[in-house]
């Protein structure tokens, strides 16, 4: 007697003759999107997978987030490109969910929709002065130096800035500090956007602060990035030895956490390495611990522009779960600066028709299955709707974190398919339906071959300047290049 499993496997093999393939749309072509696409293609023999993105270029933060001086981290695009070129997969760029097409419309066209569009906004501090000019989120600054077409004209003022304060001590904070402090001749042979390289060459910034609310035992960066910034040529590192004193709670935390232990050791070594006294033109990097921002103060000479960050000193107290949190002590001090970069976390953006947890900034889900906006009783699920990546887990982790995330989401999809929850026998228009609808709306879809033309142009321009690529950083240039 055939088991349900065996019958389903037979039917799946039967449908591999493509009478009625499972049609899957993945929104977002970064690591979450592509790892999901790869796993769907592997586990569902006849599935047709479309990966859509609002940009004409794929790869999400691998292209627009990873720092220009970290080219090895971008090698994963080779794997993603192989997925995009798979015969049952299509990359379709220049399609914005929520404007070119709505979520309900996508759900009509496909059996399965997986939202993997990440987090394109920022956590805010919610303190006075936050909207003064000269204050940016790290996300915007990173997009600017990586040539994201939405930020080409950001024009951060690096000429009239001597001191930059970065709030946050995670890897993104270290990235932006490093880009501000690295000798520009080292950046000149990377894929940094030309407009950013030009601005950095004219930069007057000589001092950068990396400010954290807690101590060195809690710093969120990791050893590789810390080691790298501590090793920058002609850079003086300032860490106060008194900040390195460890409480019993710190010792306990470090005992159980290899990452934090190795970071603490690096910071400790850097604090005690007394190099020669600061030399004239050398730049300075200050690790400032136990300070949280209270307000931003406006300049008197430059109305509307930031001139100081008012910081409150903190101390650590254990909360109910045993975790140490920073508590204000009522003592304050100011840091004079002309630019602030907030690196305190990204945040996802909701779309119409999508249940959303505004407090946490994620889509409520159970192992990747989207939970309906319910009236209070036990969680009902949105059929055929899934999430993966930062939209599912929050904006943490590295590229590789999405491997497990995608595996979980795809195994939920497989389970639901086995249980008959996804109506695989229903005919869905899929890719053809999507392209027809977009054509009716005059939306110009960019296929993977369009990206390949952009890629080729960028590498060609890059080779003229001894760079791996010269990024096309405007919408016009990108759209023109993909059709030539």
């Amino acid at each position: 007697m055939a088991t349900l499993g065996a019958v389903t496997r037979f039917l799946r093999r039967f449908s591999a003759l493509s009478i009625n393939p499972l049609r899957v749309c993945i929104v977002g072509s970064g690591p979450a999107g592509f790892y999901t696409a790869e796993k769907v293609l592997k586990t569902q023999e006849a599935a047709q997978v479309d990966v859509i993105d609002r940009l004409p270029t794929p790869f999400g933060l691998v292209r627009s987030g990873v720092a220009p001086d970290h080219p090895e981290t971008k090698i994963v695009v080779n794997q993603f490109s192989r997925v995009a070129r798979h015969e049952r997969c299509s990359f379709l760029g220049n399609i914005t969910l929520g404007s070119a097409i709505s979520l309900p419309e996508l759900r009509e066209l496909y059996h399965v929709v997986v939202l993997a569009y990440g987090a394109e906004s920022d956590r805010t501090l919610g303190i006075p002065g936050e909207d003064l000019s000269g204050i940016h989120s790290a996300r915007e600054f990173v997009w600017w130096y990586n040539g994201h077409p939405d930020y080409k004209n950001m024009d951060p003022d690096l000429i009239n800035t001597h001191t930059a304060v970065i709030l946050g001590q995670g890897n993104v904070a270290l990235d932006v500090a490093r880009i501000l402090l690295r000798p520009t001749e080292e950046l000149a042979t990377t894929d940094i956007a030309e407009h950013a390289l030009t601005a950095l060459r004219r930069s007057s910034i000589r001092k950068v602060y990396l400010v954290g609310r807690r101590g060195p035992a809690q710093a969120a960066c990791t050893a590789k990035e810390l080691r790298e910034i501590l090793g920058i040529k002609d850079l003086h590192i300032h860490i106060q030895e008194s900040d390195l004193l460890k409480s019993p709670a710190d010792e306990e935390e470090l005992k159980n956490n290899r990452i934090h232990r190795r970071v603490y050791e690096l910071l400790s070594k850097a604090a005690t390495t007394k190099a020669s006294l600061p030399v004239g033109d050398h730049r300075e990097l200050h690790f400032t611990f136990f300070r949280k921002p209270d307000r931003f103060l406006e300049s008197e000479d430059r109305p509307g522009h930031v001139s100081r960050v008012h910081l409150e000193k903190t101390c650590l107290k254990g909360d109910e779960s045993g975790k140490q949190i920073a508590v204000g002590t009522g003592e304050f001090e100011d840091l004079k600066c002309e630019m602030v970069l907030k690196s305190i976390g990204y945040k996802s953006v909701p779309v119409d028709g999508l249940p959303f947890d505004h407090r946490r900034g994620v889509v409520p889900n159970v192992r990747g299955r989207v939970i309906s906006e319910s009236s209070g009783d036990s969680a009902a699920l949105e059929p055929g709707l899934y999430v993966c990546g930062w939209l599912k887990r929050g904006p943490t982790g590295i590229i590789g974190t999405n491997l497990q995330c995608a595996e979980e989401t795809v195994s939920s999809i497989s389970e639901d398919l086995e249980k008959g929850l996804l109506q695989p026998s229903a005919q869905k228009p899929g890719r053809d339906g999507l392209l027809q609808l977009l054509d009716d709306r005059n939306v110009r879809v960019v296929p993977f071959s369009g990206w390949e033309r952009i890629d080729s142009e960028e590498r060609r321009f890059g080779s003229l300047r001894n760079k791996p690529r010269e990024k096309l950083a405007s919408w016009d240039e990108l759209l023109k290049a993909c059709s030539d």
């Binding site: 970290h70 195994s411 086995e418």
Partner: protein, 97 residues
């Protein structure tokens, strides 16, 4: 030849996002026998930095791209960390790819 390359040559699914550049931890493998682990050269700082981030790190973990085959390692057994803890549903077994 590294263990990562050997895995790919033998159709074993071991991820290698950065293709052996010491810029990720996706080729993380667990050396199953301590005597073989001890035969390996200590990991460099760079490898340890990546191991910090590896899923399911153990005391005998290494990056597959950094373990190079030598006659001395003949018989070494490597485990690939389980990515999902709960894969089996109603006896469903994922097809080998």
């Amino acid at each position: 030849m590294s263990m990562l390359e050997a895995a790919h040559e033998n159709d074993i699914e071991l991820e290698g996002a950065c293709e052996g550049s010491l810029a990720c931890s996706t080729c993380h493998v667990i050396v199953m026998d301590m005597q073989y682990y001890n035969k390996l050269e200590d990991p460099t700082d760079e490898e340890n930095d990546m191991l910090d981030l590896a899923f399911g790190l153990t005391d005998t973990s290494r990056l597959g791209c950094q373990v190079i085959a030598t006659p001395e390692l003949d018989g070494i057994r490597l485990a690939i960390p389980a990515a999902t803890r709960n894969f089996a549903v109603d006896g469903y077994v994922p097809k080998p790819h």
